[in-house]
Symmetry: C2
Subunit: 343 residues, 2 copies
Amino acid sequence: MTSVDNRKFVLASRPTGAPTEDNFDFKTEQLPEIKDGELLLRTIYLSLDPYMRGRMNDAESYAEPVNIGEIMVGATVCQVEQSKNDKFAVGDWVLAYTGWQEYAISNGKELMPLGNDPSRPSYALGVMGMPGFTAYMGLLDIGEPKEGETVVVAAATGPVGATVGQIAKIKGCKVVGIAGGTEKCQHAVEKLGFDACIDHKADNFEEQLKEACTDGIDVYYENVGGKVFDAVLPLLNISARIPLCGLVSQYNATSLPDGPDRMFALMGHILTKRIKMQGFIIFDDYGHRYDEFAKDMQQWLNEGKVHYKEHMIDGFENTVTAFNDMLNGKNFGKTVVKVNNPL
Amino acid sequence: MTSVDNRKFVLASRPTGAPTEDNFDFKTEQLPEIKDGELLLRTIYLSLDPYMRGRMNDAESYAEPVNIGEIMVGATVCQVEQSKNDKFAVGDWVLAYTGWQEYAISNGKELMPLGNDPSRPSYALGVMGMPGFTAYMGLLDIGEPKEGETVVVAAATGPVGATVGQIAKIKGCKVVGIAGGTEKCQHAVEKLGFDACIDHKADNFEEQLKEACTDGIDVYYENVGGKVFDAVLPLLNISARIPLCGLVSQYNATSLPDGPDRMFALMGHILTKRIKMQGFIIFDDYGHRYDEFAKDMQQWLNEGKVHYKEHMIDGFENTVTAFNDMLNGKNFGKTVVKVNNPL
């Protein structure tokens, strides 16, 4: 066996506002030869997700921040390129958490086997993985949608929003999406089956949202915050539920917005409308229910009830640009970087 | 039978900030003689509660606002003084919702009979009534306290806060109260059995609260908002629960506070700490579970596990002052106005 050169992105400095190329070091290192029990993993697909922006800050967030000089974290779908571990053969596919790099050495633990010939391996990063699971549990367990209720979700063509809306349709709800641009809105309605999708870039966005939600909003699946939430708030019905899994519009904020301070006004809404707002982190809160999700989702995919769109970026060196594009809503579907060709 | 003169407080104008005497008209009217099927109710006890402040505004709140010229709403414990209704005899006690007046004519509907010789009739306005029920369901159903967890509640000697803390103690929690002044704090610890009670008027209130909550806060029962919430927020643990039944510190606010705008910062906390915040209105959300509460609470009172303190105001003409004192935390226990002597 031979050692390989590994290219990787490490955190060079903490961003102020939107990340730039300067916040990352693109480094090359020679990996040592693998020892007994180890594997050399070849990254095929790298998932880019909004939560990664939080890890770049030196502040309390979902989890520990990435330290300066450390590799950027992230889920990957890899193939085993070399193996000195009985449990894995060369060519096997695995779901791993090896971050922004072309190769990784693993002891075989904390890998989820995907078999040696999965039909759509990258789905494990999206509709069958963390984003799909996030959509499923947040909507069903916290949102508790009932037939005939109105469910609103933003980032409607992203991996979470698209899945939320399609599950809500399966459950008999009216679904109103919010997305940036007419192309995405058209996709949400025509391909994903949403009842309506409103372009948040439109001048009369708030008015259009109100018109689309003729019976108010019973479940608002929150993943963006900002002006979308401002428009949603007055439309919420009595006993509305707000699963809160992200606030992507706020991740690059460098300071609190100007006043007035609406914190207690929000709590006043929650009180008088008897709203439930609940934050969750999918694997921490619901890890024990993954099988339930995987069974349902696999069936819906097989039956064609859930469609899934990927925004595939070719070339590992384009990772930072792809990451910023995703934070700014320029992706159309789940952002995945194709890092290496399969074996 | 003879007609009676009835004195009552009607809403004269909507307050800007704290209510004043000018916002009320103190009127006398002669009631007509009762007809067949009717009762003349003699108000013995009038309950004064924070939610009434919301009803004085012409804005969306828990319920419809009181109209100008209409009687101020409120729960009362009355005795039947005259009866032309077979279901009620003279001298019977009832829980009613007849508002700020000395007498009322009722058709006998929407009254809860309390028997003809209740031991503590005014308790139906407090620990055995709306405030006690609010404490019970909010803490147990939304707060879901587990043995050994830390529960924090403000207005710790008020009818809701005192009950929340004592139920939490019954459930094996550590309980930290917040109240205004050393006398109230002493009462919460010595009489109600709280583990600690912090004076929010103390200069180093935030520091004291932090020291008392050595393991953070798992359940914050919110009924005040304002600077108490500001101090609680950084101490909340992962997966904390916030039942939200009131924001009394905000009820007299005439405009939103100055910035910065912390609305999305609050949502950021809810997200990263996976907090559940849920508003509720007791009879709308939990009316069907009243019996469950009444059974438990009666038992706890009988066993001496729950203590209850009333702040009894003598004289109906003192109602407005007593109401403002309650909004400003000058009451010590449940505010009840003794309107008439019992028959």
